[in-house]
């Protein structure tokens, strides 16, 4: 085992920190309340070359691993940007994985350099009104039509659809009833967001409001066959490849939120004097913050291990799932304690911890709920019978 500081990682973190220092809590608070996409932040990262951190060098990226991408996102979250910052770039950083691994050479060469330069936004379209946790239930249908496909259906919760030029879109090409396996018959596309065939409606929500979430009404969308990723019917399998890295990234994002929440709480607990002493001198205040830190530390270790395994091409589902679960819980605990430490001011917008709290809450639901992680561990790690 070797827990020594890795100089490259340390440089990466410092580099990101320096670059985004000017996007402070006030900036994020303003974007959140105005429901405004953080364009300046996005551009700053693009110009610094950070958006392509995990995209292969031949497309202009840095070709680094999930570990580096994870550290970058954690750094963004812990700067106070929290999920407003992370969700703005999350898909750009690693969402292109199916395209990198299974997309055609033309598609890769056409799109990936534009992703790296920050000029192309892509959304991820899987969830539907009746298919949330249970992806096999999607009904958005792609039908062959000449040299392309025509897509009809509905998607919900699509992050950033208002900025997106393309949609990484999961469809059914064969209805569920005709498939041998529930996960067969789905096809993945890099579909153009043609506004004349896709109506986009924003979903008002509790938090992470700088980055929009949308409902998509897709009606007769034409997608050229060249935009198909890999083979027809294997779309779900391509997505599965991306699940572990996604969990690893989310774990790191959660840890970042937890860290900034604890930081703000500690600063406040040192400054705020009640009964002639800083409130942090009370065990009732200090211990929960100490506990939050330990929970974050533990989650961080599992998350790093998962990233390390993934980058070495080893199985990491157990670790990636555990990391997501532990980190989402630790982040929420930390944000909750930060609100409590601030007393009444905890729910005033000006102290920012309420924003962290709203965003930390999300991590236990999306993109995969805590319950589904427990299902995974029960079934695939412990060997218990499937419960659903």
């Amino acid at each position: 085992m070797d827990f020594d500081l890795d100089q490259d990682h340390d440089d990466l973190r410092k580099g990101v920190r320096g670059l985004i220092a000017r996007f402070d809590d006030e900036y994020w608070s303003a974007c959140d309340s105005a429901h405004r996409f953080p364009t300046e932040f996005y551009q700053a990262l693009a110009e610094g070359g950070w958006l392509g951190v995990a995209i292969p060098e031949e497309y202009g990226g840095a070709g680094l691993g999930i570990t580096e991408a994870a550290l970058l996102l954690q750094e963004v979250a812990s700067s106070g940007a929290a999920m407003n910052g992370c969700s703005a770039i999350h898909l750009t950083i690693f969402g292109m994985n199916p395209l990198v691994k299974h997309g055609s050479a033309e598609l890769r060469h056409e799109l990936l350099p534009r992703v790296v330069s920050g000029d192309l936004h892509v959304s991820f379209g899987v969830t539907e009104p009746d298919a949330g946790t249970d992806t096999s239930r999607i009904t958005t249908r792609a039908r062959r039509d000449g040299d392309g496909y025509v897509v009809d259906g509905r998607k919900v919760w699509i992050t950033k659809a208002q900025q997106a030029e393309y949609l990484l879109l999961l469809t059914r090409t064969t209805p569920l009833e005709e498939c041998a396996k529930r996960t067969d018959g789905m096809t993945l596309f890099m579909a153009p967001m043609d506004r004349s065939a896709i109506e986009v409606r924003e979903i008002p929500k509790m938090g992470r409001n700088a980055v929009n979430s949308n409902e998509l009404f897709i009606d007769g969308l034409r997608v050229p066959a060249s935009c198909r990723i890999g083979e027809e019917g294997k779309g779900f399998r391509y997505l599965l490849d991306g699940l572990n890295p996604e969990r690893i990234l989310l774990a790191h994002e959660s840890i970042g939120i937890g860290r900034v929440a604890v930081d703000r709480a500690v600063t406040y607990a040192n400054q705020r004097v009640v009964f002639d002493r800083p409130i942090g001198q009370n065990q009732g205040i200090a211990f929960p913050l100490a506990e939050a830190t330990m929970r974050l530390d533990a989650a961080e270790l599992v998350a790093r291990k998962a990233a390390w395994l993934y980058d070495r091409g080893r199985p990491c589902a157990r670790e990636a799932n555990s990391a997501k679960y532990l980190a989402a819980d630790a982040a929420f605990f930390a944000a909750d304690r930060a609100v409590q430490t601030h007393g009444g001011f905890g729910y005033a917008v000006e102290y920012h911890v309420e924003r962290y709290f709203r965003e930390a809450r999300l991590m236990r639901i999306a993109p995969i709920s805590q319950e589904m992680v427990l299902n995974y561990v029960s079934e695939h790690v412990l060997g218990l019978p499937r419960s659903y």
Binding site: T127, D134, P204, M206, Q340, Y347, E371
Partner: protein
């Protein structure tokens, strides 16, 4: 305690629920100031806010008033409902403040800071004491000082301020439009009752009231207010659980309702038990308070701690069991979740724990080494 919710009380609560659902704007739709004030006028006119005051004497009446007040938790309403129904009206009635009652009833939006728990004294009995601002007579009575986080202050026409006048405790009603009154920007997670700081700089009071037993009445009215918040918490908790059960029964994933998964159903069952426990404790504390049982003041605090935690746990479970939908603005679980978060903050945890600790200390020793107080929640056998 022998008590049953009879048909009449159940019908009253149902009528209040219908009124609130049909007539009051949804705080989630973020109604503007005019709409909020019009709704408040209608709510005051309906006299539902006064119902809680009817039950301050008789234990059974007190419990039924609490039962009815649960409707205010089930249906989130903008305006200082808890302050007016739970504190100001009972206080004005108990101290014979006619001018205050008139003002509370004329449809204006009047708010106040409800007194918080004081550091427990030697007798270990928890008391609620207002922080009093200085007032002087200078032609009129004038108030100076600052109140922090006053509910609905930005909408208020007037604030009832605890003052010290001529060396004695008094209440001053100050119109917010008066010179010398500054109300800060509203903030807070609770959409029903955003809070704001209010500063008085030699501000003239429109009315002043005093009574010989004012401080004791403030104490008992504030304890009543704490129970009102408990009623809102169990009402709100019950509502979010009911909504979650409905949602999880209809929402199908993996070919069956998500409510059939134990992770979901057990979680909802757990919070149901917790909220029901809160309801029983609140009813018990209300009964004991009205019956002047010595341990009642401590029971009221225990009840606040329990029901505020239960409400938060229920709202948490509701958000989780709704999946992504729980995160939407439209679906609306967040309205109760916000109320629950604010309620937990308002439970004044540190002071409440200190008061319960002081009560426990006394149970063990008593000021004279003799066991003097009844345990928290202890049943007093009749006769």
């Amino acid at each position: 305690m022998d008590y049953r919710i009879d048909d009449e009380v159940a019908a009253l609560r149902a009528a209040l629920l219908t009124f609130l659902r049909e007539r009051m704007p949804d705080p989630g739709a973020e109604p503007g100031p005019d709409e909020r004030l019009a709704a408040w006028l209608e709510l005051v006119g309906s006299e539902w806010l006064e119902h809680y005051t009817t039950g301050t004497g008789d234990p059974a009446e007190r419990v039924s008033a609490l039962h009815v007040a649960e409707a205010f938790g089930a249906v989130p309403v903008t305006g200082p409902v808890d302050v007016v129904a739970g504190y100001l009206l009972p206080l004005a009635a108990a101290t014979g403040w006619t001018a205050g009652l008139d003002r509370l009833r004329d449809g204006s939006l009047v708010t106040a800071l409800v007194p918080g728990l004081d550091t427990p004294g030697r007798d270990g009995v928890p008391r609620r004491r207002a922080e009093r601002l200085p007032a002087v007579r200078d032609g009129a009575v004038r108030v100076t000082g600052r109140l922090e986080r006053v509910p609905c202050a930005a909408d208020a026409h007037a604030v009832v301020v605890a003052v010290e006048l001529d060396g004695l405790p008094a209440l001053a009603l100050v119109e917010t439009e008066r010179d010398g009154v500054a109300v800060g920007a509203p903030s807070g997670v609770d959409l029903r009752r955003p809070v704001a700081d209010v500063t008085f700089d030699d501000a003239e009071a429109a009315a002043v009231h005093t009574a010989t037993d004012l401080v004791d009445r403030e104490d008992s009215s504030a304890a009543g207010h704490s129970l009102f918040l408990d009623a809102e918490a169990v009402g709100g908790g019950t509502e979010v659980i009911a909504r979650s059960v409905e949602y999880c029964t209809g929402r199908v994933q993996f070919g069956r309702p998500v409510g059939s998964f134990q992770a979901v159903r057990h979680r909802l069952a757990d919070v149901t038990a917790t909220v029901e426990g809160g309801r029983s404790l609140a009813y018990r504390a209300a009964w004991d308070l009205a019956a002047a049982i010595p341990s009642a003041a401590a029971d009221v605090i225990a009840s606040r701690l329990w029901s505020s935690a239960a409400y938060l746990a229920a709202a948490e479970a509701a958000v989780q069991c709704h999946g992504g939908t729980g995160f939407t603005w439209e679906q609306g679980v967040h309205r109760w979740y916000r109320a629950a978060i604010a309620g937990r903050g308002g439970a004044d945890l540190a002071a409440a724990r200190a008061a319960v600790a002081a009560h426990l200390r006394l149970l063990a020793t008593g000021p004279t080494g003799v066991r003097v107080a009844a345990p928290v929640g202890a049943a007093r056998r009749a006769g």
